[in-house]
Amino acid sequence: MKEIRLAWPVLLRIFFRSFLVQASWNFERLQNLGFFYLLSPGLRSIYGDSLSRDVCERHSAYFNTHPYFSPLVAGTVLRLEAKAHAGEETTIDAETYKQMVMGPFAAMGDALFWGGLRPLAALIGLLIASQGSLWAPVVFLVLFNLPHLLFRSGGLLLGYTQGLRAIETVQKCRLPDLALRLKESTIILIGVLCAYLSFKGCEHQDLSAVWGFVLLPVVLLFAWLAHKGVTSLFLVLLTTLSLLLLALLF
């Protein structure tokens, strides 16, 4: 039997469905139903009327990965299913593939998007917002979502066209190293933002900007506390209460 190729409209539907992959996120099976929902149009066109419960059950089992990586996984899984349906042997079947990649892909996505890109875009947005400009949220959304949407659509195509070999392409991109670069840029921008605010604060109080340097150890102390697990809520309360007290006393 010849391997069935998915038509463009089907791939497009899968792409749009990937936006809803976490709609029923739950503690029992995490993204299990979501992943079935994502694959469903593809599975239907591969298996047609012969879509069996077996296939559905294995794609609604425990599953969780980074949501932006789900189209990439779906692409490869559908390719593997199409091959399996055509009776072609693959080194790894779709079910095993899913189990193998979900953790590592989640790690990559978390580092790249949540840990890397999002803080960077947010800091750029914040620097614009500190000028009182309403462009801030727009710039933030564009900076974040261009790579996001490219990654979702590119991932689906890559997974579907290359099948298991997609992982080699992903590996070549060295995404975790890219994430590190993004994080380092974020840290530099945090430094810039803090210095800018210190400068503004001194200006407002008619102090020389030298006093701004006093804030450096304070910020570092707070960063250390946060690193040790002290919550933002506590730090906010600590800061505001002491500032309010100072304001009342002097």
Partner: protein
């Protein structure tokens, strides 16, 4: 060599470990002790692709891990040790790995397991293995990410079953 964190996590290398725990405990080496993973080159490749080049990742069978952990190779490393299930943790400990604290992260539910917290499901077998570990002087706590509160596993068991998957 020092094991800065030993953790049971059925998802092994994933975001919570790399993004939250690695910076929190300042680890510079992650060791995955798992027979199945070590035996599948594809999965080793995927896992290697997930860590930055500044972080060393070692994947081995339980026996291999135990001997690597006591070798000179990791002498100056701060190691984060990962297992996928309780029996692996017990086995590696019996083979000589010296951790005194075990973190329960994600132990996902399956038929026959009872859920004690949102992320931890155990059956009688798990409880026995953890009990043995505790008898050997390992303190066992549940904590999903550093920002969560650490809780002794005894407390979980006593507070009873949240829900079972049938």
């Amino acid at each position: 060599m020092s094991i800065v964190l030993a953790r049971i996590d059925s998802r092994l290398v994933h975001g919570q470990v790399l993004e939250a725990w690695v910076p929190y405990v300042n680890a510079d080496c992650v060791v995955v002790a798992n027979n199945e993973v070590a035996g599948t080159s594809f999965q080793c490749m995927v896992m290697q692709a997930a860590v930055p080049s500044s972080l060393k990742l070692i994947i081995g069978t339980l026996e291999e891990t135990a001997s690597i952990l006591s070798s000179a190779e990791l002498l100056k490393k701060r190691v984060l040790l990962l297992f996928s299930k309780s029996e692996d943790a017990l086995r590696v400990r019996q083979l000589g790995a010296s951790f005194t604290k075990l973190n329960l992260g994600n132990m996902h539910s399956s038929v026959g397991k009872d859920r004690y917290t949102c992320t931890i499901a155990l059956d009688q077998h798990d409880i026995e293995k953890l009990q043995q570990l505790e008898d050997q002087g390992v303190s066992i706590v549940s904590q999903c990410v550093p920002a969560d509160r650490e809780q002794n596993w005894r407390k979980l068991i006593r507070s009873g079953v949240r829900s079972g998957y049938r």
